[in-house]
Amino acid sequence: MPTDGRDQPLAELRAILLGPDRAAWEAMRQRLDNPARRAEDVAGVLADAVRLRSRPHPDVTLRRALQPLLEEALQLSVQSNPRMLAEALFPIFGKAIRRAITAELDALLQSVSQTLEQSFSWRSLEWRWEALRTGKPYAEIVVLRSLLYRVEQVFLIHRGTGLLLQHASAKALPGANEKQLETRDPDMVSSMLTAIQDFVRDSVKEAEGENLETVRLGEISVVLAYGPDAILAGFVRGVAPSGLNRVFQENLDAIEQKTAEALHSFSGDTSEFASCRPRLEACLLGQGRQDQGASRSWSARALLFGLPAILILALIGWWIYSAALERRWTDYAHRLESEPGIVITHAEKRGSRFYISGLRDPMAADPAALLPANLPSAQADFHWEPYDSVAPQFALPREFASLKRELERRAFRFMTGSAEIPPEQNFLLEDVGAQILSLIQAGAALGQSVRIEVRGNHDPAGTEEFNAMLSRARAENVRSALIKLSVPADRLMALPEDRARETCSAVEEQERMFCRSASLRVIEAP
């Protein structure tokens, strides 16, 4: 071929110039084309490559790339040969499960004993009521209202370095006398806690791989929760309830989940954990509650003991008050009884009302007016039967009034045009004279000076002048006749016709007779 002749020298030149390299290229090409060779090459450096990517700064992308593969591989492994994985995990899981069961049983025992202790106490009733009222679970109320403890400091500690990632402390309680847990620098406490853990683990052979779970010192205890990369520790004053460990563990789990990356690659920068602060604060249970609780418990105690006490006091007060009231009513009834003209036949208290019944002289004092100021008249029911009392203070006035009434009904009749007292009226005259004397006597007994007005009247017949004269004469005649009958003259006044009275206008003689008269009126003067 013509080209052969031309290319021959070029090929030779190429062979001279690139001969040794060509062999190397050829070998390289064969290695690249051969998957088996390539796999061998990668296998040689794979471990180093992975190590390089994870150190010194862990590479997230590699981990992320491997994650689905690993998950799938694990899944496949479980499907194809579950026994192998189970055997591999048993030492870890077995131990973890045993510990979890022990912890659960401990918690159960504690809660059972607590329940037994609290089921029938006043406090538990109060808590159950609060749970019902607020709709919160009873257990939560118990933890919240357990006044025997208070988480005062919470530390989030990096497990590998013992360095403090976050710290939260309960606010100082109002009231300076309240003791507040004072600790050293939280950073130092955090490291020291880790050191003590190491110390315990180093000192006790069986404790290897185990965690320090509680530290107690007098009334202070340290609650510890562990995660793969962090520890959550709380300084608790008082007796920590069993639920507290769980609260810590749950919060720590949430923190670990949220900051897994940061925890894993932690190199001293704690600012990444500022977002965990609310979780730490959530562990500050009983925060400010010891005080609040004290006042709560005070109010609860006030409610529990105060209410019955108030009721009892109120009952006693009511009893004393009603006894006093009844006493006052009885006193009042006694007083009424001694009152002249009043006879009590029955007095009793019915409910809040007081019933008094009896006899009462109409002239006797008004019982309602006699009520003392501290007895409400609205509570009183009176029932009085009227009667005439024979007591002198009623008999005398009554006699006086009756005499007066009778006397004023008397009238002397005259003949037409005459002022002479007709003889048939002499009996009447004597009668009236005796009555006036009795009246004067009765009036004197009552301290009254009695005078009698005698007025003469006339019928319509005759002149006015004559009639005026006639009526005066009639009055004078009656007065003189009465004086003759021993009635003191100064007690008698003869007066002419009373102008104020309607003039007698009777037409019939029968009626006119009543107009021709002299009548009497009793004037009382003290």
Partner: protein
């Protein structure tokens, strides 16, 4: 951004680790912890350049024939200080041995060597520090006078942030 780092003090007994820390730190735990728990923790806030740094100093109990250094305490440390007593050549040998053990069991970490008791220079058995390898930074310090103490800690801090 404030960084926190855990630093350990290691060395033979009575080389002056606790005294060095005492000379350096702001807050001190009672020395009794050292005897009981085997470690005492102190804190020092410093600045490297413009960045603040909190050093948590773990003063580990000195190693002697009876007491072995608890390497578990070094877990999570960012660096350490090996202390030797210039007056005792054996303490330097111990320092080398400890450094080797830590490197093997914990890993390669930044560290400095402190030759303490520089105030007793005339009584020193060690005249020259043998170059034990790359990465060795040696300071002559005196816990008594304070000489070299700040410089040593500052140098380690810089190594931590490097």
């Amino acid at each position: 951004m404030t960084l926190k780092k855990k630093i350990c003090m290691v060395g033979q007994f009575a080389v002056g680790k606790t005294s060095l820390v005492r000379r350096f730190v702001d807050q001190i735990y009672d020395d009794r912890y050292l005897a009981t728990v085997g470690v005492k923790i102190d804190r020092k806030d410093i600045s490297v350049g413009s960045s603040p740094l909190i050093l948590m100093l773990w003063d580990l109990a000195g190693e002697d024939d009876l007491e072995q250094l608890k390497v578990s305490h070094l877990r999570g440390a960012s660096g350490y200080i090996v202390v030797a007593d210039g007056c005792r050549a054996a303490s330097l040998a111990k320092a080398f041995e400890l450094q080797k053990r830590i490197a093997e069991q914990v890993g390669e970490l930044p560290f400095v060597l402190a030759l303490n008791k520089a105030d007793l220079r005339e009584q020193w058995e060690i005249q020259a520090v043998p170059a034990s390898g790359p990465g060795w930074t040696v300071f002559e310090t005196s816990a008594k006078t304070g000489a070299g103490v700040q410089e040593m800690f500052a140098a380690l801090a810089e190594k931590l942030l490097a």
